[in-house]
């Protein structure tokens, strides 16, 4: 049952992504991109990962708001189609080759849902006793994998500092 829902959601996702690529209007592209994001979050929810689903929904909403309000709110112009025949043919051939090899690789993957890493079993068995956190995701990202989270926080800090530094100076010069 879950597989059918996942397949339906993923095909809708593909359609929305194609619409986002092909539409002439930037605003409708962004709206289709939002639809892709919401369907990804539903997929996460059906796969049993509510933490990631919540993060996906809120980040998606925020990205849409920032994109619409801050970047294209006053610069709406239709995009011209400038692709020629030759680049399109090359792209199509490359995509077909990639799909064939990708389908061949699928046979070597482990069965869907089987656990590959032994450390995950350790976390599931000892996570509650060793960290006390009932939510295993919090226990892993903030206790076992604390260094990763520290690095991630540093990356976010650097990104914000960069955005502030780039956008502030010129605005100040203008008065």
């Amino acid at each position: 049952m879950v597989e059918i829902i996942l397949i339906v959601l993923m095909s809708f996702m593909l359609i929305a992504a194609l619409i986002a690529l092909e539409s002439r209007d930037l605003l409708s592209s962004i709206v289709s991109l939002g639809a892709v994001g919401f369907m990804i979050s539903l997929v996460f929810l059906f796969l049993g990962a509510p933490d990631i689903a919540i993060v996906q929904v809120v980040v998606d909403i925020l990205t849409l708001v920032i994109l619409i309000r801050a970047t294209i709110s006053r610069d709406l112009h239709p995009v011209e189609d400038i692709r020629g025949f030759f680049p399109f043919a090359v792209l199509l051939v490359l995509l077909i080759i990639l799909t064939v090899f990708g389908l061949e690789t699928m046979h070597y993957l482990p069965k869907f849902g089987t656990s590959m890493s032994r450390v995950a079993e350790y976390y599931l068995a000892h996570g509650l006793v060793e960290t006390g956190a009932a939510n295993i995701v919090s226990a892993i990202i903030l206790d076992y994998r604390g260094y990763d989270t520290l690095g991630e926080a540093t990356v976010l800090f650097t990104a914000v500092v960069g955005a502030v530094a780039i956008l502030r100076r010129k605005a100040k010069q203008d008065g």
Partner: protein, 158 residues
């Protein structure tokens, strides 16, 4: 009536739902170690509340709650809180990132204090993410890029 921002209907609805959204963010923040949620999602939702206020009431409406200086302060405070809690293991004679508070409080599972340091980490991350994302939105929405002749220039939006 105040002419800034969106229409009167939007402002009333924003006034109504703003505290609930803020409360949901705080719930995700403080119970992130017991139920789905966590610092990052909570921070994004808290930033979303301030962005909602900015969209509905304009720039003046949000500066009652948070402005650029306070964002800088919150962001630095969040990062420092995270580092300080991570270093608390060193101060007590154990390793970096040791969950000191959990070892202190023992095994009261499924209670608020059971996570130990994890609650404090979540608070630090949420402060950081909230201030950072709000600052990015604020700066991007007050400056805009205009084409003057052949050059792109940044202008402060009126």
């Amino acid at each position: 009536m105040d002419k800034k921002g969106l229409s009167e209907i939007t402002k009333s609805i924003t006034d109504l739902i703003m505290p609930f959204v803020f409360m949901f963010g705080l719930y995700l923040l403080f119970f992130g170690h017991l139920s789905p949620g966590g610092g990052f999602a909570a921070g994004v939702i808290l930033a979303g509340v301030f962005i909602l206020i900015t969209l509905a009431f304009g720039k003046g409406g949000v500066e009652i709650y948070i402005n650029r200086e306070r964002s800088h302060l919150f962001e630095a405070a969040g990062a420092l809180l995270f580092l300080f809690v991570a270093c608390s293991g060193i101060f007590t004679g154990k390793g970096f990132f040791t969950n000191v508070l959990h070892q202190e409080f023992g095994s009261r599972y499924f209670r608020f204090l059971s996570g130990g340091n994890i609650v404090l980490y979540n608070i630090g991350i949420a402060l950081k993410v909230m201030a950072g994302l709000f600052m990015v939105f604020f700066i991007l929405s007050v400056t805009r890029v205009v084409l003057e002749g052949t050059k792109l220039k940044m202008r402060r939006r009126k």
